[in-house]
């Protein structure tokens, strides 16, 4: 080898500049990702600190007193549970079957593209428009009045796309060869779905249902004009406080009310309400994520 041949893999100025740029880019993008997460942590921390004086089990189980300026959040908490589970009972079956149709039966033609588009649009309709719809359709046209039923139906339609999307994803992740094996022993389409597809995707479907719970629990606008009220007197710790045709309080609505409409609320109470709402929603979501991670680690294919 002649001594004046340039070595192939030495760093030239160009290469050094190239890697410097890469390092800069990497850090810029890192900062952008961090800028999204740090405010979240700061905010959650701040809310917790402010809420600390009121955060006790008694706060959760007590009823609001003195025009909602003191006391607890029990009626709102129970109301949210009612709304979430009734809306879940309505939308989970419809959503799961809709996903079964879209993933197992539908072919790729214009009609099913329209269905897909409808699902996407249903997810994109503003929550306040859902509220208007609930008011026009359930409260007035169907004569359910301002009630838990109207509010739950509105919530159910609003959260339908969540469950359709995640169920579809779960169904699509079952390998096609499983279905083919089942068809080849003479099973019909539905028998295949029941015996092979659903059992293999149940964890994904469950994740979708859980995500829907968290979505429904946090919504305010759709229930504001269909069934949630500012205040309703119920017994402390009473679990069966509301009837289907009554109005109820809800946690999200309660937070809105006490932070904007009611003067003279004890300072830590709105913060504590926000923490309870945020905490329940995040816990439910974390459960969904944990389930998904666990199931993924056990998947055999």
């Amino acid at each position: 080898m002649k001594p004046d041949t340039p070595a192939l893999f030495t760093e030239t100025a160009l290469v050094r500049r190239k890697y410097r740029q890469e390092t800069v880019a990497k850090w810029v993008f890192f900062v952008m990702a961090a800028a999204m997460i740090i405010p979240l942590l700061l905010i959650v921390g701040y809310l917790m600190v402010k809420a600390a004086p009121s955060l006790t089990l008694g706060f959760l189980l007590d009823v609001p007193v003195r025009g909602m300026t003191e006391g607890g959040i029990w009626p709102a908490f129970v109301g949210t549970i009612y709304l979430v589970f009734i809306s879940l009972a309505i939308s989970a079956p419809i959503g799961i079957l809709a996903a079964v149709y879209l993933n197992e039966y539908a072919r790729d033609n214009w009609f099913n593209r329209v269905i897909n588009l409808a699902v996407i649009n249903l997810a994109g309709v503003p929550s306040i428009v859902h509220a208007l719809f609930g008011l026009g359709a359930f409260v007035y046209a169907a004569r359910f009045g301002y009630s838990i039923l109207s509010a739950s139906l509105t919530l159910a339609i609003m959260t339908l796309p969540v469950i359709v999307a995640s169920t579809r994803e779960a169904l699509a992740s079952v390998p096609r060869s499983f279905r083919e094996a089942c068809w080849n022993v003479g099973a019909t389409r539905w028998q295949t779905i029941r015996a092979v597809v659903l059992p293999n995707s149940i964890s994904g479907i469950l994740t979708g249902v859980i995500l829907q719970v968290s979505r429904a629990a946090g919504e305010t606008a759709p229930i504001m004009f269909t069934g949630a009220v500012f205040y309703k007197a119920i017994e402390k710790g009473d679990l069966f406080a509301y009837g289907l045709h009554e109005q109820c309080m809800a946690l999200s609505m309660h937070l809105y009310t006490i932070s904007t409409q009611v003067p003279g609320v004890k300072e830590s109470i709105p913060y504590a309400t926000a923490v309870v709402l945020l905490g329940s929603v995040l816990l439910v979501n974390a459960a969904a994520i944990a389930l998904r991670v666990y199931m993924r680690s056990r998947t055999k294919w």
Binding site: I128, S252, L255
Partner: protein, 328 residues
């Protein structure tokens, strides 16, 4: 997607062999003939599945129908003019002698808050998507994706509360604005709210770029940054555009957070520190006070029709853009 399952083979009825020996094929006969209730039950169930499948269409149409139905009488009433509704900033729905229903100020409010939110959220969201998709290790990637999912789950009323308490104090302290609930506040809150959707769709569309593109870039000696700038961004631009559009859709449609964080002034804003009211917040704030069946009530529903159409167009656009990628 071509991976749709084709119809399964119908249960084949076995050809009866000519010398029948019942014991020999009794099993085949039994499994081929199902009882009638089972066949009909299955058909009924498949009917139900079909009905649920098309339910999304039914719901979207009925949302439009019912909201429009409540709004329609005001359109034919005579006093109300659609031009004034869209282009007049004067909103005096409860005035005694001269009621005026112009939503221009609210339109301006919606657009200013959404625009500010997008100016903040788009660079940060796409930057974070690039970081998650290209620059970080797989452990960190999983963690970040989970954090983003949790970020997306925070209820809007909690964001509104944060705007009302934390953010407004910060804004008053650092900008000297007279009130802390204004465009800046709403824009910041909305940016934090729409970042997760931008990140997750953006990350999906970067992931959808075939690995062979990356390998080709690396083989030419490109660094990650060069790869991102010259290969991935051009290849994923449709998906990233869809991410931005969905973020806009979220911004336009958001109700509780902007209701609580932007103040309640019906005015055309002149600066970032002015309070505004958005279309969504206007409905939420006034629907409770408008007597059912009054013109005011119907105009609020008409605002709902307007919002529905706006988000419909934005979502349709995003879907067409995404479909464009799949076709390629």
């Amino acid at each position: 997607m071509s991976a749709r399952p084709k119809p399964g083979p119908a249960p084949a009825r076995p050809q009866e062999p000519s010398p029948p020996a019942p014991e020999a094929y009794s099993f085949a006969v039994r499994s081929a003939r199902r009882p009638a209730w089972s066949v009909w039950g299955e058909r009924a169930l498949e009917g139900a599945i079909y009905l649920c499948g098309i339910s999304a269409i039914i719901f979207v149409l009925s949302i439009f129908f019912f909201v429009f139905k409540e709004a329609a009488p005001v359109l034919v009433g005579g006093e109300f003019s659609l031009t004034e509704f869209l282009f007049s900033p004067e909103w005096y729905p409860t005035s005694e002698e001269n009621k005026r229903y112009g939503v221009l100020a609210m339109l301006a409010g919606t657009f200013s808050v959404t625009a500010l939110a997008m100016v903040l959220a788009v660079p940060f969201g796409l930057g974070a998507a690039i970081y998650i998709s290209e620059f970080c290790g797989s452990k960190l990637k999983e963690t970040l994706k989970i954090v983003i999912e949790l970020l997306a789950a925070i209820p809007s009323v909690v964001w509104g509360f944060v705007g009302l308490t934390v953010m407004s104090k910060l804004i008053v302290t650092y900008t000297g604005a007279p009130v802390g609930v204004n465009i800046l506040n709403g824009g910041l809150i909305l940016a934090l709210m729409s970042v997760p959707i931008i990140v997750s769709i953006g990350e999906d569309s970067l992931k959808a770029v075939p690995d062979s593109y990356r390998e080709a870039g690396v083989a030419l000696g490109a660094t990650k940054w060069q790869l991102v700038r010259r290969v991935l961004l051009p290849a994923a631009k449709n998906g990233l555009l869809a991410a931005v559009l969905l973020g806009v859709g979220r911004g336009v449609g958001e109700t509780m957070a902007v209701l609580m964080a932007t103040g309640h002034a019906v005015q055309i804003p002149h600066g970032i520190l002015d309070s505004v009211r958005t279309l969504t917040a206007n409905i939420a704030a006034e629907l409770g006070e408008a007597p059912a069946g009054s013109d005011h009530y119907r105009v609020l529903f008409l605002t709902g029709v307007l919002l529905f159409s706006l988000t419909f167009v934005v979502n349709l656009g995003a879907d067409l853009v995404v479909r464009g990628i799949r076709k390629k």
